[in-house]
Symmetry: C2
Subunit: 326 residues, 2 copies
């Protein structure tokens, strides 16, 4: 029988390859600082051959959130596709060692486990070049009553729409969720991703989504707004839906119908690496939500987790994410 | 034609799997804190299943030194055996991206690339559980005039003696080196390794070695001494051989016949992870030596590199190791 958990993540299962680079390097590969670009296997090989020494650790946006959620003490499960190779084993180990229930077996055919080359600039900004590999094999058939189970919430990511069967499997997950009283949440991934799939996201939001976690740029891309006040007004019109909008050093705003909560950011001495800030915020926010905390407390959890993760290299915090929470 | 370099490393090619653990974890696996234990594939699988989330980066003692040497700007080459798998590709990439000339092709048969599970305690001490895998296939036949070339120095590590053909291939490398005026240097790896192979090390030292880099425990294990004064006296008796002995917070001592140079350690605010301190010292010391610096300057380089590496997680420093050197 499928284990019942608080949160089920469905997303691209990726191992990060992290290296520091200078502005000239980003320029030489034609990557706008802060962007996420999808690359193919040949491009990945060429990029890697140009990169300096790197560190490998499990990544993937919603996968990071699921890991963070489990790190906080929440019960979690995960649906994503790795290949039966060493990076796939690393990805699954890092999840399972946190108690996350891995729902799919590694693929024994097809492309290798996905890698995201995360190029960290001196100012802590990260530019991603992602080879999706085995993730592209995630299929509608992987989403079943058994694999989804009856979690309190499902979390999908916008990047799933970059997979051929992504939109269909997202709808299927939402359908199964609705039958079980599961909340459906969506992380918007990045503003370029929103541009790629705006119409589909809007439709999915209207029909299937209960909770959206996103940064301000993503929200503007979704709504066609250009200032936070206009965006908040539009989000408030979705009366029963819950939005958590992160704004970097400006903090975050929670919108739930006519309730709006502003949470300030925490000043940090040194921004080491912004990788995973939004993912960590989502982990804290959803952990609070799944444990029936007030929305204000959810925002404080999210802020604490994001503040912790940007003061280290990489998107996941190895030790207790709630350490030093007060 | 083989590229001529300053330093050729010959050692176990290993990818580190780094995780923080508590004292109970070390106790539960029966590992004395600070030790290096060789484990087989099944033990590696079992240990990994118990470990928390980890980070992967290229490692291996002399491999770290070679990477550090190249990071400092030295020209370097490397002989070690990885498998043709993802971890092997990571190991070779991290070397080649620093300009290190990889002399052997990955093995297409046999065991996977070696992994060292590095368990970091709260006090920064590291306990290693190493699965040698593909390293065990490094063979006498891999050491040829073509693969060795004519470097200014060869650097071997004591751990090579844990490989079946290790002692033979070390002697062969030294023999080829002697024919070309190459200095033969040896890192003693760890005191348990010295215990395992003492007689062979003493013989190799007397017949083949010009430079030894080691920590104080290793030197005592080699010489049967129990205080630094007695050790220095014995090392000074090897008139033409050069010894660099590291002593953690007590600094280091260089001994070359009747010349003894003491170098103080640099105080650090926080010891993050002692992994690779000795390897980094060796990189700095040999870089100075290969560039004809005074022995005092060599010791200062070594100290600078070790001080840098213990203030971060992992054995390799991604960016310029000479940054902040003064």
């Amino acid at each position: 029988m499928t284990q019942t958990v608080q949160l089920l993540g469905i997303s691209n299962a990726i191992v990060d390859v992290l290296a520091h680079v200078d502005a000239e390097f980003l320029d030489s590969i034609g990557a706008p600082p802060g962007s996420m670009t999808l690359i193919d296997e040949n491009q990945a090989r060429e990029l890697y051959s140009k990169m300096g020494p790197a560190t490998e650790m499990s990544g993937g946006s919603v996968a990071n959130t699921v890991a963070g959620f489990a790190n906080l003490g929440g019960s979690a499960a995960y649906i994503g596709k790795v290949h039966d190779d060493q990076l796939g084993a690393i990805f699954n180990h890092d999840m399972q060692s946190l108690g996350v229930d891995i729902r799919l077996a590694p693929a024994t055919e097809g492309a290798p486990t996905a890698r995201s080359h995360i190029l960290i600039s001196a100012d802590g900004q990260r530019t991603m070049q992602t080879y999706l590999g085995a993730c592209l094999g995630l299929a509608l058939a992987d989403i079943t009553a058994a694999s989804v189970g009856k979690p309190k919430a499902i979390l999908l990511e916008g990047y799933v729409w970059d997979i051929a069967e992504g939109p269909a499997l997202a709808r299927e997950a939402a359908k199964i969720g609705r039958q079980n009283g599961t909340a459906v949440s969506l992380s918007l991934s990045d503003s370029f991703c929103v541009e790629r799939h705006r119409d589909s996201f809007v439709e999915f939001l209207q029909n299937d989504v209960d909770i959206v976690v996103a940064d301000e740029d993503e929200i503007h891309a979704l709504l066609g707004t250009d200032n936070i006040e206009a965006a908040v007004k539009k989000l408030a019109a979705y009366e029963d839906k819950l939005f958590a909008v992160t704004r970097s050093e400006k903090g975050s705003i929670i919108i739930h119908g006519d309730v709006t909560i502003e949470q300030a950011a925490v000043k940090v001495d040194k921004l080491v690496d912004s990788t995973g800030a939004g993912d960590a915020y989502s982990a804290g926010f959803l952990y609070g939500w799944a444990n029936d905390r007030s929305l204000a407390e959810c925002a404080r959890y999210g802020t604490h987790c994001a503040t912790t993760v940007i003061q280290q290299v990489g998107a996941r915090v190895e030790k207790g994410l709630l350490d030093n929470y007060s």
